[in-house]
């Protein structure tokens, strides 16, 4: 999903590039240099809007100058979302799933190259147990002191579900299931999804001797499921939400599929509603008033790509790759984004104990809490650095308010000479975004920062780097690109040097 998102946004947002998109975006005009510009009103060029009254009177298309004393406002709202505990995860390449076990008061993380168990302590998070299982994808709680972990397998490695006692991760049994994905345990039955569209039912009355009772086929690309009463709700990454009749628990059958516009990667169900993680679309909420025919009642996008969802007390938590977002779902038909926190590594999975919400990133774990009685803004620049590669004189930062109350931009400043900073609005409603236009009339190499001061309670001062090119890069910038020939999955060979004369975007992804 994240690769797809890069492709779509990387190209789809190229709205101002010559010959990438013929027309300028709405509200923009093409300048003499063939670049799209937002029309600046000369009469307003020297206007300094320092309070909301000025902003309210500003016409669309005005570019405002902000105060340049980049200091945090003296009084800030209270942050409704807070991180209470944090720990780095050693030696992980990839975290993929997390589950909470009330009996051991542990969260369990599946990923590459291990399965780990984490205890929430008064002061932090402690890794208490680790099983170097290789590549594991899903983990689910089977009951007191037992978990099941799945791995997909391939030609050289068997797909399987391992049933483990959690204290030392001793192996109790193995079920060989190719392409094993999400699992759920209800009573003595373990339900195992497969990437090939099956749901297996196993009798675990004797945990050491799992007995296959049934195999249902016919789903497209199921990732995970929830079972509530006589129904199972499957997050299918092709079809959306698939409903299974479980009234005969040994023989599930498909009774409904949502008419969605896209797939789901995770689902949680509570109080008559299903909450599906819908990737770049955000989170889709379904009413289960008729359990066999879920009806979409809301779609809310907390940004990033929604991968994993968990429910706390009236709060839906979303791991959306860039971080964790909290959404007030006390009224599921009217979800309100409360705020979000960026993570250092890709945020992949959330799990809830009801009390604590546990976030797993590629290299970190953290616990969060949220208070639905508090409203506050959340300032989100859409990039962390401003690059002015050769021939570039202007960049636009979108400053999104991902919070639940109005965002006031208090100041904008830079230490870079010959830089003009303007903004289209100093007041940003929740869910809206302001545009910050940065124009550079200097020459040579750039090095400095753009300072944004707002009433965001946890990050009132945010600094974006300003650079000529990517400073964080290897020695290769500006050097001839190393040539290669690689086989494509379509059977053709692809040679970099044959592409000379046109720009090539390479996206290198990994799952070691």
């Amino acid at each position: 999903m994240r690769i797809l998102a890069i492709m779509v946004t990387g190209l789809g947002m190229a709205g101002c590039g010559k010959d990438v998109v013929a027309a300028c975006a709405d509200g923009f005009v093409r300048g003499a240099d063939d670049t799209c510009y937002f029309p600046a009103d000369d009469a307003s060029d020297n206007e300094v809007a320092s309070d909301t009254a000025d902003v309210d009177q500003a016409d669309d298309g005005d570019w405002l100058l902000a105060p340049t004393q980049c200091e945090a406002p003296t009084t800030l709202p209270v942050d409704p979302v807070s991180q209470t505990r944090y720990a780095e995860v050693e030696g992980f390449a990839h975290v993929l799933d997390a589950s909470y076990n009330a009996d051991t008061d542990h969260f369990y993380l599946a990923g590459i190259p291990a399965l780990t168990g984490w205890k929430v302590t008064d002061s932090g998070l402690e890794e208490t147990v680790r099983y170097d299982a290789g590549s594991t994808e899903h983990v689910t709680i089977l009951g007191p002191h037992r978990v099941a972990v799945s791995r997909r397998g391939d030609a050289s490695r068997l797909g399987m579900v391992e049933i483990l006692a959690v204290d030392e991760f001793q192996e109790l049994a193995i079920i060989f299931v190719d392409d094993a994905a999400g699992m759920r345990m209800v009573d003595d039955r373990l339900y195992i999804l497969t990437g090939t569209g099956s749901l297996y039912t196993y009798d675990l009355t004797d945990v050491a001797f799992p007995i296959q009772l049934h195999q249902m086929t016919g789903m497209a690309n199921p990732w995970d499921l929830e079972i509530v009463g006589d129904h199972a709700y499957v997050a299918d990454n092709t079809s959306g939400l698939v409903v299974l009749d479980m009234s005969n628990p040994s023989e599930p059958s498909v009774v409904g599929v949502t008419e969605g516009v896209g797939g789901l990667q995770d689902v949680v169900v509570a109080d008559g509603y299903a909450y599906g993680a819908a990737g770049s679309r955000g989170v889709e909420i379904f009413s289960l008033a008729n359990p066999a025919e879920p009806e979409s009642v809301a779609l809310v996008d907390p940004g990033g790509g929604s991968m994993s969802v968990a429910l706390g007390d009236g709060v839906l938590w979303v791991a959306n790759q860039r971080g964790v977002a909290a959404i007030d779902v006390r009224d599921p038909t009217n979800p309100q984004v409360m705020g979000s926190k960026f993570t250092a590594s890709w945020a992949m999975a959330v799990a809830s104990s009801g009390k604590d919400v546990f976030l797993a990133g590629w290299s970190e774990v953290a616990v969060y809490s949220a208070d639905t009685s508090i409203k506050a803004p959340d300032a989100r620049p859409d990039l962390s650095a401003l690059y002015f590669p050769e021939r570039t004189t202007e960049q636009v930062v979108h400053l999104q308010n991902a919070g639940s109350d109005g965002l006031q931009v208090a100041a904008l400043s830079t230490d870079v000479p010959d830089m003009e900073i303007r903004i289209d609005s100093l007041w940003v409603e929740p869910g809206e975004a302001a545009q910050i236009r940065v124009r550079w009339s200097g020459t040579g190499d750039l090095s400095g920062s753009l300072c944004i001061a707002t009433n965001d309670p946890d990050e009132p001062i945010q600094e974006l780097q300003i650079l000529t090119s990517n400073d964080d890069s290897s020695v290769l910038i500006g050097e001839p690109a190393p040539d290669f020939v690689l086989p494509g999955l379509d059977g053709q060979n692809y040679t970099l040097s044959e592409q000379l004369g046109q720009p090539v975007l390479l996206i290198y992804f990994a799952a070691w």
Binding site: P480, L505, A510
Partner: protein, 88 residues
């Protein structure tokens, strides 16, 4: 312009599955053993590198951009400059 995905997944089958799962429609190339990773990350240990890595090779065949953070605005800026320069 050209867009390629490159994956060093530990098997061809895994990468093919990844492509299908993600619905990728651009060419996905299999970097068996991570040799291209090593070319573009001299001296780095593959398992310790950050992913995904976005690279832009300019019209002149030189490396213009690399980042391990998803940042479409930067990518757009670099590609725009390349496309504008070359008129493609």
């Amino acid at each position: 312009m050209v867009l390629w995905g490159i994956g060093p997944e530990d098997s061809y089958a895994n990468l093919a599955e990844f492509q299908t799962q993600m619905g990728l429609t651009f060419p996905v190339l299999f970097d068996d053993g991570g040799s291209v990773h090593d070319l573009y990350n001299p001296g780095a240990v593959p398992t310790e590198s950050k992913y995904p890595q976005d690279w832009i090779i300019g019209t002149d065949g030189r490396v213009k951009y690399v980042n391990t953070l998803y940042d479409p605005v930067e990518i757009r800026a670099v590609l725009d400059a390349e496309l504008a320069a070359d008129g493609r």
